[in-house]
Assembly symmetry: C2
Homo-oligomer: 411 residues x 2
C-alpha cells in the first residue's frame, strides 16, 4: 500500500525555506526572475540536492532541467513531474517552486524507503514560466511541447534588451540537450491554487481536469474631451461614462457564465485624466476565460454586443483581440490516479478548473497530463504575501507521491 509511505514534511518545508532565500525580499517574498542570478542560485541548489541524493541532471537548450530517478525498465515511457523555479517580481515563495521541491521530496522519500519503480521518474524545472522577464509566459515548456518555435523563444528579450539565449549563457544554463518532448507515460504538476476556492470550502486537494481557455482584448473608447464646467450633460461625449456602462456589461458576462467563467477588466487608462475635463478617451484591457470553447465563443459574442451598445452614446470604439488560448482538457487516466490517491489518503477533494495558465497546459499537448492544487491563503498569489501552511504542503506532496508511484509502477 503506497499510502503507508509518507513524505518527510519537515524536510520539504526546509527546502522551501532554503529556496525562499534565493531572491528573498525584505517583506518575505521573492524576486527570482527567470535566468537571473537569483534563479541561477536556485538552479545550482537543485542540482546540488539532486547530486546528494544520487540523481543526475540534464539541461536542455532552453535551460529546462530534468532530474531522473531510474526505474527498473528503461524501455517503458517515464513519468514526469515538476513546475517552475522562477517568480514574479515581488512574488511569493510557493508559486511554481512548491511543485518542483515537492517532486524532489517524492524522489527522496522513494530513496528513503528503497522503493524501485517500474518506470523512470523525472523531475523537471521549467524555464521562464512567469513571463515576467521574458514574454510570453510558459516559454520553455512551450518550446519543449512544440507550441513555440525555439528560435523565437531564444530571441525574446527583457526590458534591458538581453535575450533568452544571452541570459541562458550568462548563468551557465544553456544546455546541450534538444528541447523536445519525449514519449511520457504520464505527467503531473503540483501547484498552489492561486485562488480562494479550496480554502473557502475547506477542501484539502483540488483535482484539475481542465484549464481555461482565454481571450485577451484591448478596447479603445473615443468620446470628446470637454470642459467639465461649461459642457452641459446632454452635449457630452463622455468616454468614461461609456466605459462604466461597458464595465458592468463585462461583469454581467462573467456572472452569466458562473461558476467557471471569468470576465475581467484589469487595466484602464483615461485621457486626459484631469479633474475638470470630461474624459475624451478610455483605453482598457478585457480578459475572458472559460474551460469550454463554445462558452468562450458565446462570451465573445456578448462582449461584442457590449461594445456595440456604446454607439447608443455616440461613442466610437475599437475592440482588438490580442490573443486566444484554447481551453485545455487534461488526461482522464491522469486525473483518476490523482482522485484515487486522495481517496486512499483520506483527504477531501474537489474537481477544479485552472483559471491560470501553467506549464502543464503545454505538456498536455504531447503527453497525458493533469494537475494537483493545494489551497493558498485567501487565494493571494503573485504577491509577497502569498502563503501556505506546512500541513497543506505536506498533503499535496503526499498526494503527488501516491499518484506518481501509482503511475510509475504501471507496466
Amino acid at each position: 500500500m503506497t499510502k503507508d509511505y509518507c513524505i518527510n514534511a519537515k524536510r520539504l518545508w526546509h527546502t522551501l525555506e532554503v529556496f525562499s532565500t534565493f531572491g528573498g525580499t525584505e517583506n518575505g517574498g521573492v524576486t527570482r526572475l527567470a535566468l537571473s542570478d537569483e534563479d541561477r542560485q536556485g538552479r545550482d541548489k537543485i542540482i546540488q540536492w539532486a547530486k546528494e541524493d544520487g540523481f543526475g541532471c540534464e539541461v536542455d537548450e532552453l535551460g529546462n532541467m530534468f532530474i531522473c530517478r531510474p526505474g527498473k525498465n528503461p524501455n517503458l515511457a517515464p513519468v514526469l513531474t515538476g513546475s517552475h523555479g522562477d517568480s514574479q517580481p515581488l512574488g511569493g515563495n510557493y508559486d511554481g517552486i512548491y511543485g518542483v521541491l515537492a517532486g524532489l521530496e517524492v524522489l527522496r522519500t522513494l530513496n528513503d524507503h528503497g522503493v524501485q519503480t517500474e518506470r523512470d521518474l523525472i523531475l523537471v524545472n521549467w524555464t521562464n514560466e512567469e513571463g515576467a522577464r521574458f514574454a510570453p509566459a510558459m516559454l520553455a515548456s512551450g518550446v519543449w511541447s512544440g507550441a513555440i518555435e525555439k528560435e523565437y523563444a531564444l530571441s525574446r528579450s527583457d526590458t534591458n534588451g538581453v535575450t533568452v539565449d544571452q541570459a541562458l549563457k550568462a548563468i551557465g544554463y544553456k544546455g546541450k540537450f534538444p528541447s523536445k518532448a519525449r514519449p511520457l507515460h504520464a505527467c503531473y504538476e503540483l501547484h498552489i491554487e492561486q485562488g480562494p476556492i479550496l480554502e473557502q470550502e475547506s477542501i484539502d486537494i483540488g483535482v484539475v481536469h481542465h484549464a481555461m481557455g482565454q481571450n485577451w482584448y484591448e478596447l479603445r473608447i473615443q468620446g470628446f474631451a470637454a470642459h467639465a464646467g461649461t459642457t452641459p450633460m446632454n452635449l457630452r461625449l463622455d468616454a468614461l461614462c461609456g466605459f462604466a456602462q461597458f464595465t458592468l456589461a463585462v461583469e454581467r458576462i462573467g456572472h452569466r457564465f458562473a461558476p467557471d467563467g471569468r470576465a475581467t477588466i484589469g487595466m484602464v487608462q483615461v485621457t486626459p485624466n484631469s479633474r475638470n475635463v470630461v474624459p475624451g478617451e478610455v483605453l482598457c484591457s478585457v480578459e475572458l476565460r472559460h474551460p469550454e470553447n463554445s462558452a468562450l465563443d458565446e462570451m465573445h459574442a456578448l462582449l461584442e454586443a457590449a461594445v456595440k451598445a456604446l454607439t447608443d452614446r455616440y461613442l466610437k470604439s475599437d475592440l482588438k483581440r490580442l490573443s486566444h488560448y484554447p481551453p485545455v482538457v487534461f488526461d482522464q487516466a491522469c486525473v483518476q490516479r490523482i482522485e484515487g490517491a486522495i481517496a486512499e489518503r483520506g483527504y477531501t477533494q474537489r474537481p477544479m478548473v485552472s483559471g491560470a495558465g501553467h506549464d502543464a497546459c503545454y505538456v498536455q499537448r504531447v503527453a497525458p497530463t493533469a494537475m494537483i492544487f493545494i489551497p493558498c491563503v485567501k487565494g493571494i498569489s503573485h504577491n509577497e504575501e502569498e502563503k501556505i501552511y506546512p500541513k497543506w504542503a505536506e498533503n499535496g506532496a503526499n498526494v503527488l507521491f501516491s499518484t506518481l508511484l501509482k503511475a510509475a509502477n504501471e507496466k
Copy 2:
C-alpha cells in the same frame, strides 16, 4: 446713439494675432504661463499699446495691471473691464486675452471718435487666472477682492519652487500699488464661452447672470486585488466594477439637475492596473457644479448615497470633499445693460450660467459685475485648437463697447 460707433474689427483681430506670438506653439496655440517671460512679453506689449493711445498703466503688488481712460468726472466711481493674459500650458489664443484686447479696442474706439465718458474707464489684466502655474486659480483677482490673503498668494510656488513674489520681481511686474478693490460703478468681463451652447444654438452673445457653485471631491474605493484567472466572479471584490456603478450614478446626478447641473469624473487611477489582476483599488475625482446652492446640496446628498451603495458590493470607500465654491449671482443692473446693448446692436442673445470660474466671480464680491460670452468653435478651450471667428470677436467687442459706454455715461 452708441450703436453708431463700431469697434475696428481688423485692428482687434490684429492685436489678437500679435498676442498669439507671445508663447506661441508649433500647433498654433500658446503656452503663456502666469508671470513667465512669455507673459512678460505680453504685458510689455499691452503697456506699449496703451502708451501709444495715451493711457498710463498702474501695476499692483500682485502684478494686476490697470489702464485708465479718464472720464469727465473723477469723483464718480469708474467702470472696469478686462480679463487675464495668462494661458494654460498648450492653451488657446482667446481664453482670457480676448477680454483684455477687446477692452483695449473699446478704449481705442472711444479715442477714434473723441468720445469723453462721464466716468473713468479702467482696463484690467489680472495675474494668474488659470492656476496652471500657481494654484489656486484666479489668485490675484481673489486678493484684490479680499477673498484670498495677499501673503498667502505671494507665497504660492510653482513646481520648481519659485514663488509668486519671486516670479513677479523676476519679470519686473511687482507693482507698488496695493492690491485692493476700490469703489466701482460696474464691472464687465468679456470671455469666450469655453462651452458648446452658443455655437450649437447659433446665438451671437451669451449674457451671464450666474456662475456655478462647485464641489470638488476625491473618492477612494477599496476592494481586493486578485488573480483574474483563478478568482471566481462571486468571490471578487472588484473595485473597478464598483467604480463603474458609481460613475453611472454620478452621471445620473448630472442629468437629474440638467440643464444647469454638471457632474463629472475626470480623473481615475486603478491599482494595480494589470491586465490579469482584478482591480483592488480605484481612486477618482468627482466634481459637482450648479448655479444654486440648494441644488448643489441636493447633488451632494445624492453623491453620498451613490458612495453608500458601494457597500452592497462589500467595497469600502472614502469620500473627501476637497473644496467648495459657492455659486455667484451677477449684478442685475449690469446684466440689463448688456441685454440692452445686444438688443440695440440687433444680435441674438441668451441668458447663460458660467460653468467655469472667472476673475469676475471674485470681483462680484466687491462690485456690481456681469459677464459677456461669445461662442467658440465646438466649445473647445484649454487646448491649442481653441478657435473663434473674427465676426464673433467683433460682435462681442461691439457689445462690450456699448455696454461700457452706457455704464460709463451714467451720472
